[in-house]
Structures are given as structure tokens and as C-alpha cells.
Amino acid sequence: MEFSLSGNALKTFARSITCLARIGNELALQASPSQLAFHSLNSSRSAYQSITFKPDFFDVYTVSGTQVQCSVLLKAICSVLRTPITSIDHLSVLLPNHDASKVQWTLDCYNGMKKAYWITCNVEPDIQHLSLDRRRFPSSFVVRPRDLNRLLSNFQSTLQEITVIATEPTSLPSDAASEIGGKAVELRSYIDPTKDNDSSLHTQLWIDPTEEFVQYTHAGDPVDVTFGVKELKAFLSFCEGCEVDIHFYFEKAGEPILMAPQFGLDDGSTSNFDATLVLATMLVSQIQEGNPSEPPPVAATIHGQANHGTGSQAQERTRGNVSEHPSDHTRIWSELSGSAAKNGSGAEERQVQGERNENDNEQREIQRISTMHISKTRSVGENVLGDPNSCHPMESNCAEDPRGGAEINGHGFSQRHPSNWVDADEDDDEGDETELCVQSTPPYHEE
């Protein structure tokens, strides 16, 4: 297999490598006469990136046989591309034969230097291939990278996971006087509730998809998806550099979310490269919903085992804040959670302190909290939750510990003061313990 490229294609190529390197460690390379495909899967198997190039992307492209594949470390390729792209005349890659142990990457620089790198192929490549049909996702939106960057800048830069809540866009025009504006989409920071020292910024951001998105499709009940921000930002940089919009495809919590560049319709023919990023989403919904009881598709939502501390995907927590009460303006609620000295209104805190055992009783407790919240809840326009058991099927202690949880006085599940959260069930007391809260302005109307 041999290919060579230069100019703008080389810039796109370098950007692709940078993006892949932010996802996983190994690069799986699959070359066939019709395309060259790069894949990378992250170590927790929750993010999969694939970038494909057509032969006309390259100046030279030859593949012997039907398919050639190998796997190399992305760090090595990044070392090759340390040379500034602007000083490279062309890059050539050569795999001399199917069982060659090294791939040769040669840079011919404008200043006359020629650099040849021989990168060792991984001996036992773990080449996964995942292809998802984009048409199976009922909901989608297209956003410009700079707009998404601007939206994400409202969130703490170290945020690890983000929730996107999509509701059906109303057909009513956005009206300043009306309570129900067109803020059909919410972006919300997701913070692992089991983290002891929660001093991070929590952010909720309601947006009007007609203003912020190029395109938005969602019908039916609200859905939410929670996924990793690091991978999102990597793909965002990639699309920004390639000057293409990002198309998001999703279905609901637990189902993967797929991102792809949306090449402009005026380009006519499709571009000579394509990219896909598939991220697993948290199984548990952040909004009240029907029981997400279907087992996730194996390939895409391969979560770490439920009780792992890694990633918060195994954590179960329903906040129960139905936040699709759109406000009149794009309003950002941000709250800095206080440190240890909270006032004791958070009933969860009481519970937590009272009953927290060291180990996996923690799970149990969270379980208890969510169960109880479910039982008390009602929400506007939501399915009434019939199933008190909202636990993830993998949680083994779930079934054996159902607490009717009657003794809880309402909003104890959150460490943050609930009146901060735009909440459907505002039968909670509001405004008493307001020292740590940001009061809503203008006044918020309950239904």
C-alpha cells in the first residue's frame, strides 16, 4: 500500500490524526482500492472514531490486493507530524507488503530536508469496526462549529460530560411575552454525583434551535443524551478546521450519539473524505422518562462495568429536573456549589450523612434517592413514571432494595438548592435557604 498527499489534503490529514489521537491510542488503518479508513477506539470503549478518505484525496494511492490493514500507535504518527505542515511539501506513506513489520512515512520538506520515519506495526492489532446507519437515529441537529464553541464556552472548561436534552420544537413563534418560547433544547453539565469534592460549575443552557442550529429535527417525547466533552471538543476542532458544520444524530439515553461533518449542500458532490464519531451515552436519563430498560447495543454503548468508578456512566442518578420549561430569553443558570458548609436543606445531605457506608452502599443510596423521587414526582408533559424501578439493569442491588422512601421531604436528591433549577414540580419550598442560590430573574412562573 502506498499513498502520498500534499497541500490542503495534507492539512486535513494532519487534522484527522490530531482528532484521532484525542480519542484513542491506536490507529487502525484499513486500505482498500475504494477507500482508506482510519479507526480509533478509546480504552474504555466508549468512543469510536472513523475517518475515511477516497482515493482522489491523495496525489498517489495504490493498494495491492483487496484489503491491507495494520495498526500503529497514534503517538508515533503525531511525532511524524511534529514538523510544521507548512514546511512539508508532501507526505508519503508506504507499507511494502502485507506482513511488513514497519510502515514508512516520508516527509519531503520545502527546505530540502527529507525525513523518513519507520513506524513499527502493532503485532496484534485490535482492529474494531463499527458502522452505524445514520438513518436509524430519529433525532438530529446540525450546528456550526463556532456556534457550538460559543455555547460550550458557558460551561466549565474542565467539564467531562454534558447532557443534551431535546424536546419537540413548538410550532408557535418565539414570543417575548409568552412563557413558552422556542427554547426546545437544553444543554446541561453533568457532574458525577459521587464525587466528594464538588466545587465545579454547574450550568444549564436553554437554546432556541432555530437560532443556534442550522437544522434541528426532533419529534415526540423529550430525550436526553449524556456523553463525553473531551471527545466532543476533539471532533469540534476537527470540523472547525475543515470548515464544515457538525451533524449530530441521536435517539435517547443509552443509545449512542453519532457525529459527522455536514458538507455543504452547495458542494455538489460529496467530499473526498468523511468522518464519524460515535460516543456511548449514559444509560440513565437525566430527565424523567420511561424506563430505559432495553439493553444497549453492544458495540456502541459498551460501558465499563456498572460499579466502576471510571467515568460516570455507571452512576445512576435522576435529578428529576424537567427543564424543558423554556424561558423567554436564552437564560443561563449557573451555580457554584458551595463547599462543605451547606445549609442543611438538602435532604439528601442528611441522608447521605446519616446512612452513607463506605462501599457499595453508596449505590444503594443513590438507588434509594432516585426511587423515591420518582414516586413523588409528576411532571408536565411527561410520561408519568409508572415504574419505580428506574435502575439500570446491570445494577444488581437494585431490585433488592426498593425504598418507598416516604420520609423524604421533597428535593433532597440534589446538593444544590433546588430552587435554582428550573423545575417542573415547584411544590417545593422556594427561596428559604437562599444564601447559596442565584435567584431567578425575571420571576419564574410555576404552572
Binding site: S79, R82, T83, K102, N111, G112, K115, Y117, W118
Partner: protein
């Protein structure tokens, strides 16, 4: 102070330099470790500073007397003393204020054999420093560089490109092979490790990458990466900006000599001798030399 009939002995050297930053640049280029003991040798021709990694790597900085606006030498013989390189450079740096001329006076020895520095260009303030010196306890090894044969084996390459190549060679690692080939005229740097990297410089007359090339037989020697790296890691940015070249010569036994030129002139302030921004008097240049010993398993002719 006692008045004495005998005139107090004049210091061995009193010199004044009007561009401290240039001297800092020149001396910084031979820093490759945090703690380095340097030996300074004074003569009527100028100042030479020598640092060494015992029997592996040696570097010399030549600051000839023409660099100084005043150079009064009155020693017998050539005084030598030891000083901490890092300390000396950091001290000089405090005299260097960006954006204005910095003239300092260096004097040796002080009353207690110190090196004395003071600023002389400011009317309202003075910076003054004393640096302890010591008797150099090692005889700096004369690397005794001899030409490899009747014709020299050398090439001159753009300093920026040399630095870039050596930085890239960090990836493969520990031992770097340098190969000079007469046909086709080229220089190759090669490193092998968990991955291999080969960087070729072809000698074409029309590119300004390899500025000069002399080689009549193929030679190949290996050098430890970290010593090769020391020869370029602290090249001052002025060298890159001035688009200078570095000369590499392979001597007998594979000893490698790397020579750089560092400008000591002030680029931004007009100087009576400088006609345009780029032109500098040839004497306003400090010469830097590195000597790198090859690795033991050496073959003089490599027929790879």
C-alpha cells in the same frame, strides 16, 4: 585604604561590553545541564569560556577582544579561573534590560579573586555584582582535534535546520549515526529505537540548506543523542533569525566539531558601524565550538 607608594596592581582585565544580551546568548548556547562548572581563560586576544562533560563533550565560547568597546589587559600570562556557568549567565542576565542599551564593565580579579561586574550606562543607579571564582581543579582536556585526512570532512548546514533535525531525532532515541557520502553528496542523520528515523540533507547547489560540503570518502560515526542534542538545544533565537549556518567537521577517530556563530551586536539600536539592520561588523560575533566524542563501536568506512 592605605595610601601606598607602590601603585596598586592593575587588574588582569577590565573590559566593557555594550550588549549584555549578546553575551548572555553566546554563553547560554553552551548550557545543557543545570549545574556546569566553566573555566574562563583570559588573554590579550579575548575571553574563552570552556565547559565540559568529562571526556564526552566539550564546548568553548570565544569572545574576542573586538567584541568589547574597551579591553584593557594587563596580566602576565593567561589567568584561568573556574566559575559556575549558570550563575554567571544568570548574573549577566540581571544586567540585561530589554529595550535599552546595557553596558557593563567586567573586571578580574577583585580583591578576593572574584569576578566583578557593574553597570556603567546609568547615571542614577548602578548594578554591581561579585561572583566567586575558584581554582579550576581539572585540566580541561584538549580534545586535540585533528583533521581526518588530507581533505577535510565537513559540511555547513543552516543552523535552524540542524536544530530541527536534532530535535526530531529525539523520537528514535539514544544513538545517532551521522553519515557523509560523496556520491550523491549528502549528509544523513539516522536514529534507531522503537522506531527509526532518517533525515537526509542533499547537497544541491541551488538550495541553501547545505551551504558547503566537503567529503571524498564515505564516513559514518555514531554519537550519543544527548551530547548531540546539547550542541543545538540552546542555540539562541538570534541565530535562527540571522539565518546563520553551523559548520560540522569530522576529525580523526570520528571526533565531531560543531561550530556556531552568535551575534553579539545590538540589532535594534543604531551603531556607528552598522549600516543597515542586517549588516554587522564581522568582529561582533562570538564563536561557539562543541567537540563530541564518537561512541566506541565505530567503523570509519561504512558500506551500508
Amino acid at each position: 585604604m592605605s595610601s601606598s607608594a607602590i601603585e596598586p596592581e592593575a587588574p588582569d582585565l577590565v573590559c566593557q561590553l555594550d550588549n549584555v544580551q549578546g553575551m548572555v546568548d553566546a554563553l547560554s548556547s553552551v548550557r545543557w545541564k543545570r549545574h556546569q562548572d566553566a573555566v574562563i581563560e583570559l588573554s590579550e586576544h579575548g575571553i574563552v569560556l570552556i565547559v565540559e562533560e568529562t571526556s564526552c563533550l566539550q564546548a568553548k565560547v570565544y569572545l574576542q577582544r573586538e567584541l568589547f568597546i574597551r579591553y584593557e589587559y594587563s596580566a602576565q600570562g593567561r589567568p584561568r579561573f573556574g566559575v559556575s556557568l549558570g550563575l554567571f549567565v544568570d548574573c549577566l542576565n540581571t544586567f540585561s534590560v530589554p529595550g535599552r542599551s546595557n553596558t557593563i564593565e567586567i573586571q578580574y580579579p577583585g580583591p578576593d579573586m572574584q569576578l566583578l561586574l557593574k553597570s556603567v550606562d546609568s547615571l542614577d543607579a548602578c548594578i554591581y555584582s561579585e561572583i566567586r571564582t575558584r581554582i579550576p581543579d581539572m585540566i580541561s582536556w584538549d580534545y586535540n582535534f585533528e583533521p581526518a585526512g588530507s581533505t577535510p570532512l565537513s559540511f555547513t548546514v543552516k543552523s535552524a535546520a540542524l536544530k530541527e533535525a536534532i530535535d526530531d531525532l529525539e523520537w528514535p532515541g539514544s544513538s545517532i549515526q551521522i553519515i557523509l557520502q560523496p556520491v550523491p553528496p549528502s549528509v544523513t542523520f539516522r536514529g534507531e529505537g522503537h522506531g527509526d528515523l532518517q533525515i537526509d540533507f542533499m547537497y544541491y547547489v541551488n538550495t541553501d540548506l547545505l551551504i558547503a560540503f566537503h567529503c571524498d570518502q564515505e564516513v559514518s560515526y555514531r554519537y550519543k543523542y544527548k551530547f548531540l542534542r546539547a550542541t543545538t538545544s540552546n542555540i539562541p533565537s538570534s541565530v535562527i533569525k540571522d539565518n546563520r549556518g553551523s559548520k560540522l567537521t569530522i576529525g580523526r577517530g570520528g571526533m565531531l566539531k560543531v561550530q556556531h556563530l552568535v551575534s553579539v551586536a545590538r540589532p535594534s539600536v543604531s551603531h556607528p558601524h552598522i549600516d543597515s539592520a542586517g549588516y554587522q561588523q564581522p568582529s561582533r560575533i562570538a564563536y561557539i565550538e562543541f567537540f563530541v566524542k564518537p561512541e566506541e563501536d565505530v567503523d570509519t568506512v561504512n558500506d551500508s
